[in-house]
Symmetry: C2
């Protein structure tokens, strides 16, 4: 667009055409071509008159269906969800829209974000663009599918235990969950407020970075962000120090492990790679689960009491289970969380980022309930959050970057996790790594 | 001592004599005259050789029996309490001891600090020096009684819902609870870790201020203090702005109200006094109670399961009740807490301190279970925490200063509450007020 080769309208029309051609992905909840074209037209007018709002003016961005958007209802892909007021944008959508971004569509998600497969949704499961017999992972699966299929260059998701990174890893794109409190959640329907973060997905690391200034920052409407500084890209760290996490609780399939190790070999010439472990990971995982369930149940308590009929059976059973947790169990979980944050801080003292695969397996097939890896048999659901919950429990900035394909042609992701609050440093460390892994 | 008029040993002997004469107060759990004299002797040696450790070198300080002290066991005045390792000081005691303070005795307290009357204790109730037929209030009642009786000039207490300020108010001395996270709780047996603060009591405001540098500050052993700056006294605020809190939930007896208003008249020449209200105080009080009960039950869970026999019936029933709280109820309480902190912040935006009586009544008689004031009938227990819990729920620095006597000769206290974290400002505002009220 900047070179004058193509207009926002032409790009929007291509995106609309691709979306119409790829309904098999089942990635879209709401899309009105007219609304898209109006935004594209306005952008082209601004460009012609030299009044561009930002360098992302005219770029199509898809939005997970738990963000308020003024043009579309917000359903969280649940029949129990009230359709939230149209006419109001969530803070992050408003910020992107004010920069000229075209809000392209509302995307399919796991019901209420309460699951990581995108298999439970009021409009049915989302399919993986790399192989439509496989799931995208979730809960931001529709957003990931649109980006991975090349329909839009970027999308918004939300992430409570990996919901941005999981489908990014499974679909072979770049996914970013900011530190807790760096980006606003105002107008994003919550799953678990002490774990939730909004997140970004894009085709390249550079595209992600272009969006960050319009995503990160303080918002009076979300108290957790009031100390968030605006995003300011820093100098690339030429010799990043990494800690490759291994050990009990961090098992992964041989194929995923080999792909990750191959990627790490690509960076060994300039990066320092040490290994690290976290003891008692099982109890920290239990803490993450307890906090998630208690907070989710708390948020849904009123709706669940008044009219539970709209929830799917599985989501409802999760919410009912949350009622059984006692205050002392939750306190124990909150204490374990503090302990976990200290252990992570310790690991990050002499490192720029922690490294894990994004997922222990490649995208499961639709309807496949179990995964086997590392001599374990794990539900597909649990295999999706296997590594990702760590970043939410400790509030870390986390980035999933593609790092290869399996023999079956399914993507493998590498996850980088930085120090809480220092999202800039994570990107400064990632740039050089990405260049070597994805030249 | 500095003038050479009296030695630390002479002062210690006076204190020991007074303590022996006033056993009727039942304020002391452990006191070994030999241990006191050894410390006094060491101080006198330092003074003679010009090696004083600080300006508080040689001052006797009493310590509530839930602080670890290396010379005495720590019982929390409970038969269920393991006697914690002698030979180890809590961080605050260590800091005072390193400044040369004489750790004088361990003092009577409400069992496990779980109550505000000092009526429940393994060694029996504490009596008020102003009238031994009346209680001291608690849970740091023994510390307050020793200071109020002139036995020691200062003492340590702990404060979860007023346990330092309540007996300070009821006994007519100065009591200070720092902001949450400004002073270390390492080695202080917890009641409710998100509400607990250690606190100081003294005969004068100046004495309190002398102790603050050896009390406030970061301690690696208490993670909540790691951002605590050392205490640095600032310039006196000559025209402090006060908000006098009134309204539903803040009722007090006519006598207390008149005494407080009289004190406020003394400061009107130089201070700005406005009135303020906090809506929905009842729900915030319920939040404080839920957090208190859940955290206390969590801390005692193991002991309660293994051997509940040592707890008094009333304490045990509190702990059993805490088990019935659900995770979602606790989350609701934690959310209300956040809301309450915002309301308090708003009130403190244009004020240096909030003002309340420390207690709605003067010290109840021993065995008196109910108090009547403001057309209410309230348990003596609830009347003690009536105003004080606000400071714990919001983590504010709070100061109780004497502001007069009732017709019956019982003390009335004025409570000043400052902005969380800015304990210095609270003292800067209080100095001038105290001078006018207690000339």
């Amino acid at each position: 667009m900047a070179a004058g080769d193509v207009s926002a309208m032409e790009l929007a029309n291509v995106a609309l055409k691709l979306a119409a051609d790829q309904t098999v992905l089942n990635a879209i909840v709401s899309l009105d071509p007219e609304i898209v074209r109006q935004q594209a037209e306005a952008s082209d007018v601004r460009r012609k008159s030299g009044n561009l709002l930002s360098e992302i003016d005219g770029v199509c961005i898809a939005v997970k269906d738990n963000f308020w958007t003024k043009d579309y209802p917000t359903t969280a892909c649940s029949n129990a969800a009230p359709v939230y007021p149209e006419n109001v944008d969530s803070s992050v959508v408003e910020k992107l829209r004010s920069a000229g971004a075209i809000i392209f569509a509302k995307t399919n998600m796991h019901e209420w974000a309460y699951g990581a497969t995108n298999g439970t949704s009021s409009i049915g499961p989302t399919r993986n663009p790399h192989n439509v017999e496989h799931i995208t992972g979730g809960s931001s699966g529709g957003s990931a599918a649109l980006v991975a299929a090349g329909i839009v260059p970027a999308a918004l998701g939300s992430d409570t235990g990996g919901s941005v990174r999981i489908p990014s890893g499974a679909c072979g794109i770049y996914g970013f969950k900011p530190s807790y409190g760096r980006a606003s959640r105002h107008g994003v329907l919550p799953l678990s407020w002490s774990l939730d973060a909004p997140g970004l997905m894009a085709t390249t690391l550079h595209d992600l970075e272009l969006l960050l200034p319009y995503f990160i920052g303080a918002d009076q409407a979300d108290g957790t962000t009031i100390h968030s500084k605006p995003y300011t890209a820093g100098k690339t760290i030429e010799h990043p120090k990494l800690v490759n996490l291994v050990g009990a609780g961090l098992e992964r399939s041989e194929e995923v492990n080999a792909t990750l190790n191959h990627a790490l070999q690509q960076v060994q010439a300039f990066a320092e790679v040490n290994t690290g472990e976290i003891p008692d990971l099982g109890s920290y995982f239990a803490a993450w689960e307890a906090i998630l369930h208690a907070e989710a149940t708390s948020f849904h308590a009123e709706q669940l009491a008044n009219d539970p009929s709209g929830y799917s059976a599985i989501t409802r059973s999760h919410l009912e289970a949350g009622k059984l947790l006692s205050a002392t169990e939750l306190l124990k979980a909150q204490q374990l969380r503090t302990e976990f944050c200290r252990a992570i801080d310790e690991l990050l003292k002499n490192a720029d980022a922690l490294v894990l695969p994004t997922l222990p397996v490649t995208a499961p097939k639709l309807g496949e309930d179990w995964q086997e890896f590392g001599n374990l048999r794990v539900t597909s659901q649990d295999s999706m959050t296997w590594f990702c919950w760590l970043g939410n429990l400790a509030g870390l900035p986390c980035l999933s970057i593609p790092c290869g394909l399996s023999h079956a042609g399914l993507p493998v992701g590498m996850m980088l996790m930085g120090r809480a609050g220092d999202d800039e440093k994570l990107f400064n460390a990632a740039r050089q790594l990405d260049l070597a892994i994805n030249p």
